[in-house]
Symmetry: C2
């Protein structure tokens, strides 16, 4: 790492305010305010004088001061609480919300919580202290009751990805149970009777729902129920790899795998490759990921649509901001099955 530096320092110039512009244009500050906000009732001559002064001084309105005084108090900023800004799911959500917010000149404050409940609360508090107009929250904690005060104070809040607990509020979810169920049906359709389950932390509601979907499909297809084939609480690629290896080396290993999450799927693939079984053991993952169709075999997935989820959540939030005071709304988005190869591998002919 190379750092170059050269010595210079210029004095800071104060930023111009309405008062400065007014002085230069020879009008009152209220008139400048009128021009800045495009209000009527200013003669063209004064508009021109003010506009000239604004450019000359490079005046920037102070939206914080404006929001403080303005009747509706809007700051034109919304807050987003996400699992991890660096993970593709969170960042796709963020990006979709950004695109929707952008149409309304609204900016986004975003933060990661990393499955830390305390962080979720401090982040919400920090946003609230900045008086964000609204919140979009992918909750990690076991109770979002603390958000009731925010919502009642007029900060609309939409939960995404995971439902809120301890409070009734707007949320946009994915059909986790249905998607997981479909995955197992898909594998059963290919002839598998013995499907392993690889799951995320059980405290996460979505993981619970996906396991419920797996369970339901097993019942529906009469697949044998063997707790030894269920690996739970896998939260990293490494954990998933290790668990997959363990599963496949057991006495009576599954002929197919359902991986309930992104990183878990990747861990499973790494394990399959290590054991040389990627062409033998079927695999369906929940949640699509980049490169899934460049791997060999190409990886079949149950895809969520985080961009759509973000868009729907943002649109709902803005409806609320536009005055929609109807009761809490719960939207469930469907999943899409993408067969690419790995999920269509048939069981070895000897398998029961």
């Amino acid at each position: 790492m190379v750092t170059q530096s050269d010595p210079v320092a210029a004095p800071y110039r104060q930023r111009a305010t309405l008062r400065d512009v007014a002085a230069m244009a020879g009008v009152s500050i209220k008139t400048v305010s009128r021009v800045v906000n495009g209000e009527s009732g200013v003669t063209p001559a004064k508009v021109a004088a003010v506009t000239r002064a604004i450019h000359q001084l490079d005046y920037r309105p102070n939206v914080s001061a404006s929001a403080l005084r303005r009747a509706n108090r809007r700051t034109a900023v919304i807050g987003m609480v996400l699992e991890d800004l660096a993970n593709p799911f969170s960042s796709a959500l963020l990006r979709a919300v950004e695109d929707t917010a952008n149409e309304r000149q609204v900016l986004i404050l975003a933060g990661s919580v990393d499955e830390d409940q305390g962080r979720e609360r401090t982040l919400v508090r920090a946003f609230s202290e900045r008086r964000v107009d609204g919140l979009i929250v992918a909750p990690v904690g076991e109770d979002q009751g603390y958000l009731r005060a925010e919502i009642e104070a007029g900060t609309p809040t939409v939960f995404v990805d995971r439902p809120p607990q301890g409070i009734r509020a707007d949320c946009v979810l994915c059909d986790n149970e249905g998607g997981a169920r479909t995955a197992v049906h898909h594998l059963a359709d290919a002839g598998h009777r013995h499907v392993g389950y690889l799951g995320d932390l059980r405290i996460i509601p979505t993981a619970q729902q996906r396991f419920a979907g797996y369970q339901r499909a097993c019942l529906e297809r009469g697949l044998p129920w063997r707790p030894a084939d269920h690996a739970h609480d896998l939260h990293t690629v490494e954990e998933a790899t290790a668990a997959t290896v363990r599963l496949l080396r057991s006495a009576d290993p599954p002929t197919a795998l359902f991986a309930s999450q992104n990183l878990v799927t990747i861990g499973a693939i790494a394990a399959l490759q290590r054991l040389g079984l990627e062409g033998t053991v079927a695999l369906v993952g929940f949640d699509d990921f980049p490169m899934a169709d460049l791997l060999k075999p190409r990886v079949s997935v149950i895809a969520q649509d985080p961009a759509r989820m973000g868009r729907v959540a943002a649109e709902l939030l803005f409806q609320r901001l536009d005055g929609d005071r109807s009761g809490p709304r719960r939207t469930v988005l469907p999943t899409t099955t993408i067969p690419r190869g790995s999920g269509e591998i048939r069981p070895p002919s000897g398998a029961r």
Copy 2:
């Protein structure tokens, strides 16, 4: 998509202010202010009364109003202008900056520009109107001179990934030329004499630098210079795939490829797979990507370290905010070569 809704609406409760707390605690608002800010000179009895009132009213300080009045004017928010919040490079940068900012209770406003110069400017203006304390900008425009006013007004600005043009300012870059040069040397070491170049939009400075590195290495190793082997201005996976196919189907195709960017690398892989040449034609990509070591062959890359870049940039920004007024600093981070297989494929014995 299923939406459920039920009809309820509660009236909004006004948010408590210093005045409300003061009234409840039976003190002046200034005393409450002192307690909130942990200033000395308040008797324990009053501190207790104020604290009780704060909890009872669920008081949230208004940091915007506070920043307006406070001497240093700090809002404890910084702005980040990035290429695309949804792409892994941008989001890794964002996340690293977040972690550094988090230690100081600073929040982040972030936005995507998508190679749109106009958007870069409107985003910076929007941040400036919110009076962010500092800016971290991955510039796309051809001139960042417009930022001089911001910087002179006391908003420290650090450029990342790409150097600013038209202004001398802090920046944190990656050694693009050196990394590209290393890639070609690596391929030449494996015996290749004929290395194709797949590059991003030539208006992007980093793309220029990487091409310069490619060129330099070709000269150093005496590799033949054939413009027909250079595909420029590839900005999507599809464009890269098409260009790669074209290159490899030409009369005298290269035996190795250097892909100057993430998406371009992925496009090249897709093309190689389509042509069945992934085991025959060597490939080194610039910038690592998830799954690179699960593909077959595993993909050799020149890795940048966006997390480190973000951390270094954030630290520099906070140094500036802490009063460091020394001259503009330019930091260049090294790249790392990660040989995984694709870059070590040897040319077919018949190749010149």
